[in-house]
Amino acid sequence: MSARMIEQPWQRWAIRFALFVALAILCIPGLWVVLTAFRPNVEIMARPPVWIPQHPTLDNFRRIFGLLPAEQQGLPVADYFRNSLVISVTSTIIAILVGMMGGYAFARFRFRGKKAMFLGFMLSRTVPGIALSLPLFIVWSRLGLIDTKIGMIVIYLAINIPFTIWLTDGFFRQIPVDLSDAAQIDGCTRWQAFWKIEFPLARSGLASAAIFAFLTSWNEYALAAQITRTTNAKTMPVGLMDFTAQFTVDWAGMSAMAVLIIIPALILTFIVQKHLIAGLTFGGVKG
């Protein structure tokens, strides 16, 4: 630590520069998408590239919502957005409810096969989802779940629940068992002890688990592309592919839609962020 304190100014600047380069590498593609969404096609195709949009426009957004009187038919972006929202929100809520209970059980109870089961959940995450897409497709078509929101929700639950269990198990473990014991002696049932004591203390953990679950379902492309077909269930990331025709790619429209995909995720992250970094200090117990 002390070595850090007395670093030379040039070292500080070197570190800042390195950080800038690293961040730029991470951020420029995203920034480029945003910039592209707000400029006309001429600028997008320009060589050499135009960095700062010379003619900023919202036309790309108008167009994908079909608001331009032009000859082009708009895409059903509103439908995709609704599908994405319904699927993501539903699967997140269920995944958190079920995952929270599972995490609690793993953190608090002893039962046969606990370790194996926990390991199994983790291993299930190591299988790339796309490897399961063919069997999944066959099963889903037998069950009539192809191109349904339910079908997608079930898939995202299967992805998110093990992860939520794993995450919340860690958060519940940090809460001393004595707190629940104390609450039960104070007159709570086990259920009340959970909701009044352990749940509020695990809230920040649950919030981060919820973000992960939501973003997973919101951004997922590969499986959704296999299972969804129409405005019935097609989600935003899959909808992006509507902009590629046989010989052309509509970069402007695609970027505009990408911005629409990013915005809710950003908003959600900002809202829950304070929970993520909430310094809920565990002062109730020794330390």
């Binding site: 001393p176 004595d178 707190l179 014991d181 104390a182 609450a183 039960q184 002696i185 104070d186 007159g187 709570c188 049932t189 009340q192 009044k196 004591i197 509020p200 203390l201 809920l280 200090t281 565990f282 002062g283 109730g284 117990v285 020794k286």
Partner: protein, 367 residues
């Protein structure tokens, strides 16, 4: 009225039996301390009384109710935990009032009872703080306050002082004793610290390996330990214990130590020991003292010159280490003067306070 009765209480985890059928009767308003080394089953016993652990066998009753299958909330008990277990997201006031709120008391009643408890424990200036912003001693007091607001039949304490530093521990010990004198309630208190047990208890229950070794008042246990374990556990520093053989002499039985020293036994052991019996002879450090530096013995003493190998000055007394009977023993020197290691001093052993235990069973041979 809240007596607590344990009858043949057993705790098993699978095939492993932790508590082996213990019996214990705790009187109304009695302060009972369960003490023993770690793993002796004392905390498990307490948690069974609390209802936090299921009972594998036997019965526990509080008052005249058998509580075996009652959940903790139905037992009208309160408990102070080793790590305090304050609710971190609630203020001191909310922590104190939580139990009453769960019991759906009116806000006015809660307010009044919480303030009463806060007054007793001196918590009034801290009411709006979170536990994280309290010192160890303050947290401890909040935990006790949370226990007393509900007017429980029985108070349970699970090693409440072991997270505090030595000075604070002494203060809180006094506060707990005062609290018990003020709020007369049945108390079951678990500790591994024999000083806490001695100073707080009306009666001490000494446990080892899931069995009760001895139950009695602190003085009882100190003066008449039933076996070598209790003799070694109660008292600080512990009793000196030496291996010996019984020899019979015209004047009565003697214990022959490893170095051949003969200790005439107090008359109460006559007829209770047999010649050539392998025994352990015990005496407390205060019964071995440099001549002129101890409580004068009422009866016979054994006088000897010994070399001091180490001295520990404690202010009002000095602990001396010396070789006696084939091993190192501790002596206590009152009105101490400076003693240099290697100094040779005349010592007196008060023979009236000898303890004799059977070596094989460890049991006291006292009547």
């Amino acid at each position: 009225m809240a007596e607590v009765h344990l009858s043949k209480v057993v705790k098993r985890y699978g095939a492993l039996e932790i508590v082996h059928g213990i019996d214990l009767d705790i009187a109304h308003n009695e302060f009972v301390v369960l003490v023993g080394p770690s793993g002796c089953g004392k905390s498990t016993t307490l948690r069974m009384i609390a209802g936090l652990e299921e009972i594998s066998g036997g019965t526990i009753s509080i008052g005249d109710r058998v509580v075996n299958s009652l959940p903790p909330r139905a037992r009208n008990i309160s408990m102070v935990f080793q790590n305090y277990a304050l609710y971190p997201h609630m203020t001191v006031r909310e922590n104190l009032g939580f139990g009453l709120k769960i019991a759906r008391q009116s806000p006015a009643v809660i307010e009044q009872r919480v303030n009463e408890a806060a007054d007793i424990l001196g918590l009034s200036p801290l009411m709006d703080r979170l536990p994280a912003n309290l010192s160890g001693g303050q947290r401890q007091r909040v935990a006790m306050g949370r226990a007393i607001v509900r007017n429980p039949d029985v108070f349970l304490f699970d090693e409440p002082l072991s997270n505090l530093d030595a000075k604070l521990r002494g203060q809180m010990r006094v506060e707990i004793k005062k609290l018990h004198q003020r709020v007369k309630t049945t108390v079951v208190y678990v500790t591994h610290d024999q000083v806490e047990a001695m100073t707080l208890a009306d009666r001490i229950v000494i446990m080892r390996d899931g069995h009760i070794e001895q139950v009695g008042t602190p003085i009882d246990l100190f003066e008449r330990p039933v076996n070598t374990f209790v003799a070694g556990f109660i008292g600080s520093p512990p009793m000196n214990q030496l291996e010996a053989m019984i020899g019979s002499r015209p004047a009565g039985p003697v214990a022959v130590l490893a170095d051949g020293t003969e200790l005439p036994l107090p008359p109460e052991f006559a007829g209770r020991v047999t010649a050539d019996q392998a025994v352990i002879v015990g005496f407390r450090p205060e019964n071995l003292y440099p001549a002129g530096h101890g409580i004068p013995a009422a009866g016979q003493t054994l006088d000897m010159d010994r070399t001091v190998s180490l001295s520990e000055p404690l202010g009002t007394e000095t602990m001396l280490f010396l070789d006696f009977g084939g091993r190192e023993v501790q002596a206590k020197m009152l009105n101490p003067r400076l003693v240099a290691p290697g100094e040779r001093m005349p010592f007196k052993l008060d023979l009236g306070h000898l303890h004799v235990f059977d070596r094989a069973s460890g049991k006291s041979l006292r009547a």
